[in-house]
């Protein structure tokens, strides 16, 4: 809907739009990707205190993290009764546990006697026994008779059930909400399910990398929801990645999710007039040839293979999509004959507020999760998860365990990340300097592009709504 109020944000990059590319797709494109909407949300600066202030971080814990639905773990990580993971955010700690074959609950991970944490990591137990004095809770949260019950006539099991958070599951993922009065997760997601159309529940977690980054979690999150930075941060990608003409979908009436679509296998409008289709093809392959194929995500060329030829009048994008279609079919025993080019090549990225940041598409789906590191405004945890199709349909390989890498380890040194590793390093290179710069800056806020950074505005406005609610 374009009315006068949205006029300031109608300007777009003069290059071909994402929808123009989708018009040329060799297969029908699902309506979810044909959808396009960007509500103008203003152009005011965003204050910097949210990124740097400890007081802001503490308030954010109370106002936001204690009240919103957030991604805690995967169902596949806790398949058996008694299996549990510990999910921690700020000072809060929850045991997310399977209590029955079809039931997952989340308990506050604290002994009600003198406050020791009950569990310090995941595992399988048939009861929660505190390691301090042995107070014990059953999987259903009820307390057993305490040790030396004669000394606790004032402690009755009825008063001492473990407090709980709400739990919801979605396509194999477990979400929690610490607010007993929160709206349901179904209503919280709004229309997200209609636009995130990929069956994550049929995939398995093939990779899980985690690292502490020296910046606020919002500085990190903001860096991964726009493609504007490609021109300066990833100049090596300009020949094969259409950056400035990416599509950003933000809806004023859908505060909890937004999206971008970024065309790959086509040149950036910044360099398009000096780049041929052959250049696109060659550099696209080149950028991947150094790295191993990451769970089938990256298009690879076999030793000694020639670059595929582009037929007269054809485009690099068509050839790359066809090759990707073949590679995926050969490695997964699935039929990709009807899969459109866009689902094989493009970066389609969603953010479900605040910490579920999945990519869409037919390849392994990347999921990012950025969140605060305790109450420290100057650091955060960043996680990269790959959800891959099993080699044989119906197989369910066990989920990869989380791998924490030291702060000084490069993502490029993790071969499974493929082409993403060094690119992620380039992104992360900026982040500590942003964190430091925000403190040195005299201007009270950061300034955003109207369109290309509209997801950042949308995300921060949703955050502001929680902060003032």
């Amino acid at each position: 809907m374009m009315d006068e109020t949205s006029e300031p944000a109608t300007a777009r990059c003069p290059g071909p739009s994402v929808q123009d590319y989708l018009d040329q797709d060799s297969r029908p494109v699902p309506p979810a990707l044909r959808y396009e909407r960007n509500d103008y949300l203003g152009s005011e600066d965003i204050d910097t205190a949210r990124f740097t202030s400890r007081e802001w971080a503490e308030r954010e814990m109370r106002q936001v993290w204690r009240r919103v639905w957030q991604f805690a773990c995967l169902e596949s990580e806790i398949p058996e009764v008694g299996d549990h993971e510990v999910y921690e955010i700020g000072d809060d700690s929850l045991i997310v546990v399977r209590t029955a074959p079809d039931e997952i609950r989340a308990y506050v991970n604290v002994c009600l006697h003198r406050g020791r944490k009950l569990r310090t990591g995941g595992g399988n137990v048939s009861e929660f026994r505190c390691s301090f004095h042995g107070f014990t809770w059953n999987l259903d949260g009820t307390m057993q008779t305490p040790p030396c019950a004669w000394d606790f006539p004032h402690v009755t099991p009825e008063k001492f059930a473990l407090p709980e958070a709400q739990v919801a599951t979605w396509r194999g993922f477990v979400f929690i909400n610490m607010d007993p009065y929160a709206e349901s997760f179904d209503s919280y997601r709004g229309t997200f399910d209609d636009y995130y159309i990929w069956p994550l529940e049929n995939r398995y977690k093939s990779l899980h990398i985690a690292k502490v980054l020296p910046c606020n979690w919002k500085v990190a999150q903001d860096a991964f929801i726009e493609s504007f930075h490609v021109i300066a941060t990833h100049p090596q990608m300009l020949t094969w990645l259409a950056d400035a003409n990416s599509q950003y979908d933000v809806m004023a009436d859908q505060p909890n999710w937004n999206r971008m679509i970024n065309i790959q296998g086509a040149p950036s409008p910044h360099v398009a007039d000096s780049v041929t289709e052959e250049d696109v093809l060659e550099t696209f392959y080149d950028s991947r040839s150094f790295y191993s194929a990451a769970q089938g995500r990256d298009l690879v060329m076999q030793e000694g293979d020639e670059l595929p030829a582009i037929p007269p009048g054809g485009t690099a994008r068509q050839v790359l999509a066809a090759r990707m279609r073949e590679q995926l079919a050969a490695t997964s025993q699935q039929d990709f004959s009807q899969t459109p080019d866009t689902e094989l090549l493009d970066a389609i990225n969603y953010l479900l507020f605040p910490n579920f940041n999945p990519w869409g598409g037919a390849k392994s789906n990347i999921i990012y999760r950025f969140r605060p590191n305790g109450l420290d405004p100057d650091s955060c945890t960043a996680e990269i998860i790959f959800m891959s199709s099993p080699k044989q349909p119906g197989e369910t390989p066990p989920p990869a365990k989380i791998r924490w890498v030291p702060e000084d380890t490069l993502f490029a040194d993790i071969p499974e990340l493929g082409v993403l590793g060094p690119v992620f390093d380039q992104d992360c290179e900026n982040l500590p300097y942003v964190q430091q710069g925000l403190k040195a800056m005299r201007k009270p806020g950061i300034t955003l592009a109207n369109y290309q950074e509209s997801r950042i505005r949308h995300f921060n406005q949703t955050l502001d709504q929680w902060m003032s609610r």
């Binding site: 595992g123 137990v125 048939s126 009861e127 929660f128 042995g134 014990t136």
Partner: protein, 104 residues
Amino acid sequence: MTHRVAVRPSGVELEVLDGEDVFTAAGRLGYRWPTVCGGKGTCRTCFVQVEEGAENCSPVGPLEREGIEALRRPVDGLTRLACRLRVEGPVTVTKRGVRRRVQE
């Protein structure tokens, strides 16, 4: 198929079934074994020291490992939780307090 587990210093000898843990076998055969949790792997009270036959003992799982670490013992296969310990051959352990249940 059963396997003999000898318990020192009492000299108790248990015939432990395949797949059965030592704690459960003791209970089945009428012995009291020190416990608080009743065999759920959470109280660590049932621990034993393996004297002979470590090679006949089941591998240490995550919950048992947690318990042995909490006991501040090395996880070297010689300190075990009886309620997690299964055997595939003769084993000798030391555990005080294993005795025949008193008949009412």
